[in-house]
């Protein structure tokens, strides 16, 4: 921001996402702490009523003052006629958070026997989760487990994994065959926030079904199961609006619901600017509003590209939330007077003579949709405040971090060295768990630093790629990369079998002795590091130990991302 790279063409925050639709799943609230459109999940403590929620969560200034419109419209989209003014728009149907439900916490709860059932769709925690020993053990404590995937993953097969006696596992496991992305339609949202529709290429084989089909059936069958019930706990399911067809759901109907409509006539709203907090509009996700502005007009399908030599706004290609803006905070591409900092890359600029729909003069014009009130002149109050989502309209240098605002160096929770830059050894707010299998290693016993990573040839847990012969041929076995110096110290030759051990578990791998890893000289000590890819597991064509048998259940202080990039091990030939 200090260098002027925010709000300009070619600039901005461009998250490098690990999967094609991570942005979309976040927008649609895959995470436990948000509802669609980044509305905070209500908590039992702070938000007992709708009024309490709206009062606590709505800032006094900035664009978020509109939050009640988005929130009430979301309740209307979900609960339809059951959401009325006199019942807080069915606010009490929403579950209220009473704790942390992030991934690590869920598995700790499962391990503690507090979770009965678990539905896993296209994820393979038995390989991807840290401290796999604990997580696989946790699966044994479930009553039932549903896995939807393309192959029988390690998660689906945990009951017959290494060291597990199937006779002693009571969990009932359902493995449902899933369709791949090529076998279903839908939309992807990329990290430029573009919604792009994609079409089905081929039918799924056999009994494989799409994600949409599964979600649709789950809802329809739960509704049928609870049909006629007067129990309060069943009402949120019964009241849910759900009308997308019987089999494969009509996904354009879903997208139209996400876009929003006016309740009285059912007509799509053109954008979130038309949403209201009185129950007269319904909208499944306010930030996506505008993607389906009229009956039959799905803008995610639009495919008009700008010529290659142009600025590359591509306003006619897909739909970019919000309001088809391509560059967020684009007011910052113009100077305080409203003229572009760089004329060749102008996104918007103030034209005092341009006419507004109501006949008045003066508006922001340019190839991009202004991320700003279109008629707010540069010299008007707030006319120079580009960051409209913030109460003061100004950019912020300090992000609201749990351990912030000042940056500090902390050692990983497991580290072979003392923190030389701070009196505090590791992040005091890191999530550390205390179950019996949550063991941390002593550097005296485990003096070597380990890191885990991915390979080009395999995707994540390898559930697909370890079943593709051409990729298995390229990367057949788990290996452990180490420096020549460490190999010499341990008497290990390139290609030897090695045993890598941490406080949590051990893996067998093939040694890869390479000059690409170098010992660290830390003070008067030499510290070695090894690298282990985490793609392997006990199922599939290419089998091998999972690197996550070694990693700890430690989460970062803000998002609880697992600390699997730096932990302690020991290595020996064997």
């Amino acid at each position: 921001m200090l260098l002027g790279n925010i709000g300009v063409a070619g600039g901005g925050v461009n998250a490098l996402r690990g999967l094609s639709n991570v942005q979309g799943s976040t927008d649609m609230a895959l995470l436990f702490h948000i509802l669609p459109g980044y509305l905070g999940t209500p908590t039992r403590k702070d938000h007992p009523t709708l009024q309490a929620y709206l009062e606590k969560e709505t800032p006094k200034a900035g664009y978020w003052v509109n939050k009640p419109k988005f929130f009430v419209s979301l309740l209307k989209a979900w609960y339809g006629e059951a959401a009325r003014k006199d019942n807080e728009f069915a606010y009490q149907y929403l579950p209220k958070n009473s704790g942390n439900y992030s991934y690590l916490d869920l598995f700790e709860a499962m391990y503690a026997g507090k979770l009965n059932g678990f539905i896993v769709s296209g994820q393979n925690p038995a390989v991807s989760g840290p401290n796999s020993t604990l997580e696989r053990k946790a699966l044994e404590r479930l009553e039932w487990l549903v896995v939807r995937d393309l192959f029988e993953t390690e998660t689906a097969a945990f009951w017959k994994g290494p060291g597990v006696d199937p006779a002693k596992v009571a969990t009932e496991v359902f493995l449902l065959p899933a369709a791949t992305h090529l076998e279903r339609e839908g939309s992807y949202t990329n990290s430029g926030r573009w919604l792009q529709w994609k079409w089905k290429a081929v039918d799924p084989p056999g009994d494989a079904r799409s994600d949409g089909w599964f979600a649709n059936q789950l809802a329809l069958r739960l509704k049928k199961l609870y049909g006629g019930s007067r129990a309060p706990k069943d009402q949120p399911i019964l009241a849910l609006t759900w009308d997308y067809g019987d089999g494969e759901p009509n996904l354009e109907k879903v997208l139209a619901e996400v876009n929003g409509h006016t309740v009285a006539d059912g007509k799509p709203v053109k954008s979130f600017a038309f949403l209201a907090d009185d129950g007269s509009t319904a909208c499944g996700n306010w930030i996506y509003s505008g993607v389906f502005p009229a009956e039959g007009q799905n803008r995610a399908k639009s495919r008009k590209a700008d010529p290659p030599e142009s600025l590359g706004i591509n306003a006619g290609w897909g739909f970019s939330w919000p309001a088809n803006r391509r560059v967020l905070y684009n007011r910052a591409s113009a100077d305080p007077k409203g003229q572009p900092w760089n004329k060749e890359k102008a996104l918007i600029q103030w034209d005092p003579n341009a006419e507004l729909p109501d006949g008045k003069k003066g508006k922001w014009v340019g190839p991009d949709v202004p991320d700003f009130r279109p008629d707010l002149a540069p010299d008007a109050k707030g006319g120079g405040n580009p960051f409209i989502m913030r109460p003061d309209g100004k950019g912020g240098l300090w992000a609201p971090l749990a351990e912030g605002p000042f940056p500090e160096h902390y050692e990983p929770v497991e580290s072979p060295v003392r923190n030389l830059l701070s009196r505090v050894q590791f992040n005091p707010l890191a999530a550390i768990y205390k179950a019996d299998l949550d063991r941390l290693g002593d550097p005296k016993e485990f003096p070597i630093v380990a890191t885990t990573y991915r390979l080009t040839e395999h995707l994540h847990t390898g559930s697909i790629t370890r079943n593709l012969p051409w990729l298995v041929e390229l990367m057949p076995n788990l290996f452990c990369e180490m420096s020549r110096e460490l190999a010499a110290e341990k008497g290990i030759k390139n290609g030897d079998p090695v045993l890598v051990k941490s406080a949590r578990g051990e893996v067998r791998a093939v040694a890869y002795v390479t000059g690409r890893l170098k010992p660290f000289k830390l003070g008067d000590r030499v510290v070695h590091e090894v690298g282990i890819p985490w793609h392997w597991g006990f199922m599939g064509m290419a089998k091998g130990d999972s690197a996550n048998l070694l990693t700890p259940h430690v989460g970062d202080a803000n998002t609880r991302i697992q600390e699997s990039k730096a932990f302690l091990v020991d290595v020996r030939k064997g």
Partner: protein, 251 residues
């Protein structure tokens, strides 16, 4: 006009997309492999692996480790030893430069395998015939790039008019030199010119390429002639046998 493939190793990231795309286009099966102390696999080019990426770790004079990648396959030499020794005409030259292989005509004599100065022609034990990269004539003659080129994400592999690629390679060489590297061009004059040109960041030997590849006919040709003679004798014998059998049937 002669066409060629340009392999710019300075742009290669070792993703091996080319290696897999080749297998996909030509329906070549995967080979059983094990990790053997390098990312590289399978170990050698074979009837099932016509193109593979070599992973080379070098140590520079300043002690810095470099990881180099080379997408390796048939070089489609102008003076192609394999073609010269082939007794049956199974190996043939496409008008645009590629050394093609018509397996229907191959008799499995393996002279080409022995003659190739790069060791890229292999023998297919299952079909009893020779195998190698043929530079996708089916694609090229339909206006497409070879499969390996079309999948390369970084532009390390390009396909086109050989003269254009030579010019491009030389520009790239100059660019790398300005950066302080000591790159080499390989394939411009070797064996009267290869149809696979290489911008190398190390000496050819570092990648397992012969510094001076030699036309192998001199040593193999007599054997080849013998084979042709033998084929002729066998052909006549077969005809005689056929006539005799027909004669017996007629009795």
């Amino acid at each position: 006009m002669a066409r060629a493939i340009l392999v710019d190793t300075s742009k290669c990231i070792g993703c091996r997309g080319c290696q897999v795309a080749c297998k996909q286009w030509h329906s070549l099966k995967a080979e059983p492999t094990t990790f053997w102390g390098t990312y590289e696999n399978p170990r050698d080019l074979s009837a099932k692996t016509w193109r593979k990426v070599k992973f080379v770790e070098t140590v520079a004079q300043d002690g810095a480790t470099r990881w180099r990648f080379l997408s390796d396959a048939c070089k489609h030499c102008t003076d192609a030893s394999c073609l010269a020794v082939c007794p049956t005409g199974a190996l043939l030259r496409r008008p645009w430069g590629a050394v093609d292989l018509n397996q229907d005509v191959c008799n499995g004599c393996r002279y080409c395998v022995a003659a190739c100065p790069f060791g890229v022609v292999t023998f297919n034990e299952e079909t009893g015939r020779a195998d190698k990269c043929i530079l996708c004539p089916d694609r090229v003659e339909a206006g497409l790039d070879p499969a390996c080129v079309s999948t390369c994400p970084t532009g390390a592999l390009t396909f086109g008019e050989r003269d254009d690629l030579l010019a491009r390679a030389k520009r790239r060489l100059a660019e790398l030199q300005r950066r302080g590297e000591r790159p080499q061009l390989y394939g411009e004059r070797e064996l009267s010119g290869l149809h696979a040109l290489y911008v190398l960041q190390e000496a050819p030997e570092a990648y397992g390429l012969p510094a001076r590849p030699r036309f192998a006919t001199a040593s193999v040709l007599p054997g080849s002639l013998l084979s042709i003679a033998a084929s002729a004798v066998m052909g006549v014998a077969a005809l005689v046998a056929f006539r005799e059998r027909r004669a017996r049937k007629g009795e």
